[in-house]
């Protein structure tokens, strides 16, 4: 079988291994784009990995006023967790502490009713902050809660839809040195931000601390992926080709497999766009031999 390459960069014959998650989409609006961004960065803060954050969250895309329920600037936020129960806990905390508190904001559900597998309580929990002065309003079949706050009212949809989703789609950029890896990762992230239905939950969309399952220390569920650490090539069973001096990973959570495939394809193509001369030597993907998750994204299929 011939080896796949883009612009002289080797695409390894491997796959990204992903697992099932539960997700919801929140639409947050505010009086101005600046306050939408304040709320969004707060809601999606400390939400890089379910390993320690409880959920993975990110901005799917910014919304123009014509796309939001109240005609104001908005943002679409995707939140992923391992169970409906954990997702319920996370959205309640995050909307309560990061959206309700943020001036001029409002929060709505972004999963269409026909797609929702079940419902998570949002306004129906947050309403208690109103201390009896809250008002519900049923408009065109959707129930909203109006909670009096110091700048007027916080408006919040009563419930948001939950969908089955996929977390842990990924690919690895193997580069000659850290600047080359970072530049390629930034190109990939910029391309992937244009794909709907996915988020890149790590800082700037990029991870440097790819992990393997387990550790020599019993307390840890995950530890550094030593096979991809360039400083350990002579010590461990390294999977790095010669000349690789830095590896960066891009992790993708998506509402469905097709969105993840599209994101991976666009990201890999953008990372490879400047060719081997820019320092990118190979593209790989993280997997655990098929033991962790049922969703396998083979790089060759993604790029086909």
């Amino acid at each position: 079988m011939s080896e796949l390459a883009i612009e002289g960069i080797t695409i390894e014959d491997t796959f990204a291994e992903a697992f099932g998650m539960r997700a919801t989409r929140l639409i947050v609006t505010a009086a101005s784009r600046a306050w939408v961004r304040h709320a969004a960065s707060s809601v999606t803060g400390f939400a890089t990995s379910v390993i320690a954050c409880g959920c993975e969250a990110g901005v799917e895309r910014e919304l123009a006023p014509r796309e939001t329920p109240d005609g104001r600037p908005g943002v679409s936020i995707l939140i992923f967790a391992m169970s409906a129960k954990e997702l319920q806990k996370q959205i309640e905390r995050r909307a309560g502490q990061c959206v309700l508190t943020c001036p001029t904001t409002a929060a709505y559900g972004g999963i269409p009713a026909e797609a929702a597998r079940e419902w998570l309580a949002l306004g129906s929990r947050l309403r208690y902050f109103g201390d009896g002065y809250q008002i519900s309003k049923l408009i065109d079949g959707t129930r909203y809660w109006r909670i009096p706050v110091m700048d007027g009212e916080f408006v919040c949809e009563e419930k948001v839809g939950l969908v089955k989703s996929i977390g842990g789609g990924n690919f690895l950029i193997l580069a000659r040195d850290p600047p080359a890896a970072l530049a390629a990762a930034e190109r990939a992230v910029a391309a992937m931000r244009r794909v709907h239905g996915i988020i890149l939950p790590f800082p700037g969309g990029v991870v440097r601390s790819g992990s393997k399952v387990g550790s020599k220390y019993k307390a840890l569920l995950a530890s550094t992926n030593d096979a991809y650490c360039p400083t350990l090539v002579g010590l461990t069973r390294s999977k790095l080709p010669r000349d690789v001096g830095a590896v960066l990973e891009i992790v993708i959570d998506g509402l469905d497999a097709d969105s993840i495939r599209l994101g991976m394809r666009d990201g890999i193509q953008a990372a490879c766009a400047r060719g081997r001369e820019a320092g990118v030597l190979a593209i790989s993907a993280g997997n655990y031999g098929g033991k962790l998750g049922p969703h396998h994204f083979h790089l060759k299929e993604v790029l086909a």
Partner: protein, 270 residues
């Protein structure tokens, strides 16, 4: 297929309960069966064929023509499909309707949409008292759906209203939204005395700046409320008058009736 049409031949000898003349009850019936359908009067029943000239076939769209107010409970319990009334629909029109569309090209009597649970009820003319309320003795009034009155409504519109949307393009009489529990009512014309009397919760939106509220309502300032914007965007779908009203951005917010729970909201466009 043409809509199934019942044209009233002449004024009946007494008030007739027209509630069987709804799409679900007429579906699958032959012309003979329709003609034999018994409609209750004061103390006897009448075959529909005696009262109406029947034409058309499509029972999902039923038309009642030439009504003069002698039929009561027109469209009562409507549970889907489309019912059109031409003329004066009598009392209890659309009572307890749950789904579907009831269009009245004309006027309606008292208790329009009493105890309504869903669907859309539109009246091109005026309606009597207790529109969107509940029957006497019922704890609650309208509890869902949407009533649109292009003309004016009498006293007690929205009495004991519990949920849903009551839209009145013209004027309303006294005691509008009295004893309201929840839901939203909008009045574009003038408002009689005692609006919101003993209302516990719910929202009454008024265009009439001259309205005289009860002393048991207190002023909570002028606001530009997002929830009102969402509500008005929905209200605007119901015609040009409501579209113009939906352009209002600032409302004076009065809360009452402090004679009871006091969480009712009267919003007056500024």
């Amino acid at each position: 297929m043409k809509p199934l049409t019942f044209r009233l031949k002449s004024r009946p000898p007494c008030r007739i309960d027209a509630s069987p003349l709804v799409p679900a009850a007429l579906a699958g019936k032959s012309r003979d069966e329709l003609a034999r359908l018994r409609l209750l009067g004061w103390n006897e029943s009448y075959p529909a064929g005696e009262l109406f000239a029947i034409s058309g076939e499509d029972s999902t769209q039923v038309v009642l023509e030439g009504l003069d107010g002698s039929l009561v409970r027109v469209g009562a319990g409507l549970d889907g499909g489309e019912l059109t009334v031409v003329g004066h629909a009598g009392d209890y029109t659309g009572e307890s309707m749950r789904r579907g569309t009831l269009v009245i090209r004309g006027s309606a009597g008292d208790y329009l949409g009493a105890g309504m649970r869903g669907g859309t009820l539109t009246v091109s003319g005026n309606v009597g008292t207790f529109a969107g309320s509940g029957r006497g003795g019922e704890l609650y009034g309208m509890a869902g759906g949407c009533i649109v009155v292009r003309g004016s409504a009498g006293d007690r519109a929205g009495d004991r209203m519990r949920r849903g949307l009551l839209l009145i393009e013209g004027n309303v009489g006294s005691y509008c939204a009295a004893r309201m529990v929840a839901g939203s009512a909008v009045v574009l014309g003038s408002v009689g005395t005692h609006p919101g009397y003993l209302m516990r919760r719910g929202t009454l939106l008024l265009a009439d700046r001259e309205v005289e509220l009860l002393p048991t309502f207190n002023d909570n300032g002028r606001h530009r409320l997002l929830a009102v914007r969402l509500l008005l965007a929905s209200v605007a779908q119901h015609g040009s008058g409501f579209r113009r009203f939906a352009r209002c951005v600032e409302f004076a917010r009065w809360l009452g009736d402090l004679g009871c729970e006091g969480m009712g909201e009267v919003l007056i466009a500024q």
